[in-house]
């Protein structure tokens, strides 16, 4: 089984995407990109990533619209999302959690913190998967 995890980065800032890519690659993650809301959803469908790093301010809709669309598809709704945004914590953080995000990190993010949150979210998702499989198996 391929143990390398796939992470999709949705951010309209090219430099930030590259910076994240370098950091994630060095930590043995495979990365994909999208620079706007529409291709964000398309890339999720194409690559079925294990985790999504999502900016809120995006062309063609914002991060919340991306989450809304993904939430409508059960297989995609379970993919953990980490919101990384320059927007104010007040208001946006709560809204992000309500939309199903695992974490809200405000830019500029500390890479060590981002990696810690990624590890934790992936581990949780793995746990949930195991549980679901066991449940299905026992039925």
């Amino acid at each position: 089984m391929d143990s390398r995890k796939k992470i999709l980065i949705v951010d309209d800032n090219q430099d930030i995407r590259l910076g994240m890519q370098v950091r994630l690659k060095a930590n043995q993650y495979d990365t994909f990109f999208a620079a706007d809301a529409v291709s964000g959803v398309a890339e999720v469908l194409k690559h079925l990533p294990d985790l999504i790093i999502l900016d809120l301010g995006l062309p063609g809709g914002d991060g919340f619209t991306v989450m809304e669309r993904l939430n409508k598809i059960p297989t995609l709704a379970v993919i953990p999302i980490i919101v990384v945004s320059a927007r104010d914590v007040i208001g946006n953080q709560k809204r992000a959690y309500e939309a199903g995000a695992k974490a809200f990190l405000q830019k500029p993010v500390n890479d060590a913190e981002l990696l810690a949150v990624i590890r934790q979210s992936l581990a949780e998702a793995e746990e949930t998967k195991k549980f679901t499989l066991r449940d299905e198996g026992s039925v």
């Binding site: 800032n13 430099d15 930030i16 910076g19 994240m20 370098v22 950091r23 060095a26 301010g57 320059a86 927007r87 104010d88 007040i90 208001g91 953080q93 709560k94 809204r95 309500e98 974490a103 990190l105 405000q106 830019k107 500029p108 993010v109 500390n110 890479d111 060590a112 913190e113 981002l114 990696l115 810690a116 949150v117 934790q120």
Partner: protein, 527 residues
Amino acid sequence: MKEKTLQVLVVEDNAGDVRLLREMFSGEKVGNFEITHLLRMSEAEVYLAKGGVDITLLDMGLPDAHGLDTVRRAHAAAPDIPLIILTGLDDEALAAEAMTQGAQDYLIKGQIESRALPRALRHAIDRHRMQAATDLIRTHQMEFKDEFLSHVSHELRSPLTAVRQFVSILLDGLAGELNPEQRQYLEIVLRNVKQLHSMINDLFEVSGVQAGKLKIELQCTSVADAIAYTINTLQGAAASKGIIMLPSDIERKLPSVCADPARVRQILIILVDNAIKFTPQNGTVKIRARICEEHADFLLLEVSDSGCGIDPNLTERIFERLFQASDPALADHSGLGLGLFICKDLVTRQGGQIWAHSEPGKGSVFSLTFPIFSLPKLLAPVFSEERQTEHPVTLVVTKIGSQTGWLSNEVRADQCRGIRELLRGCLYSNLDVLLPKMDSAGPSELFFIVAITDGIGGGAICERIRKQLDSSERLRQAGLTHSTYYRSLGVIKRNATEPKEDFLETVAARIQELMNEEASSKQVRSG
């Protein structure tokens, strides 16, 4: 240019005084002023609510209203219409106080120079208009400043993100080995980036404080929830430094406090974030909460760390605005020096205290208190000695719901502040109490007023609230519905032998029961 006829409402029950006033306008051209005369406050309220009045002349002793109450009611019925108080010589002090309740000016009966009256009215109207225009401009400016700062801080954060990312990529050797000199220089860059970041945050925060954005809405608040939220939010930051963060020594049944939940979270985040910053790798940060030993009315919260500590001479100064640690070892942690200042401001405004205790090298402890939420205490003014207790105690219930049937938390938070102010303006007496928010559960947002009213008082308050809510543009725009009704608890008297605390306890329990009933009833009554 022909001037518009000014509509003057005179509310005065003394026919002689009214005649004198009318005579004072006799020198004016017909069509300059039109005077409407009413005898009672209740009539005046209805008339004012209809609109069209340019200025009100109000006597403070009417058959159905007295003193400051008349001013409050007239102001509540028509907050945008200038109000001039008519008073006797012996009541000048009271009239001066009326100015703080919304009156523009006062005139002493018998001392009004007849030709001066029309001029005084015109000036009052002009002054009121100018004031309103200035207020509007100021509000717009504030809004613009807020928007501008929010925009700027947003725009600054993105490039800063890229700088920080790549500096740390280089520092971690992901683009090849660094020589010691390169490493040293990049560390300088990183330190400055961090400082810039925290300055942007503080700047944004303080602009909010000044714009009055950080309003505090006291309510029944769970400290345990705020602690859980804080730990959850800062887990990542702590983990990246190998710091163990734990809630310890938290009593199982922690009482709720009377505070603003968003502000309690904000304070805890600033304190815990500081603690993490100043604690070395693999240290510990603890959060404790318990009932204060010295003052059982307060809850005591403590955030302690195993960090570098604070010079004992500075434990008070660190809360000052723009305080900066002069210790060079801490230089890379410094922001604009506003975090603790903001904390102190917020804690104090919620009725608590904050202080620090530390020994250098042994870590520091930040302690803060919040008043414990107590319904009996909130109800005390209603049953104060100066009150007439022959009238029934009334619980007025206002429900705000949405046409879709459910209020999102965000809508609640945004809307309810305005509604609260509006309801407060509907109270007839300073001693009646608009209770703070109790619980956010349920399909609609509930507001409770506890008042002592005469026979028709409950109905009168409801009527007044409905009228105000009906005319609220904000509610309409947000698509919110409202209903207001009252429940009478009958006359409640304390017998002389009963201690006041016990009495309030008992009344509070009854009122709590009624409120619980209201909260659990799903149906929103109409009206």
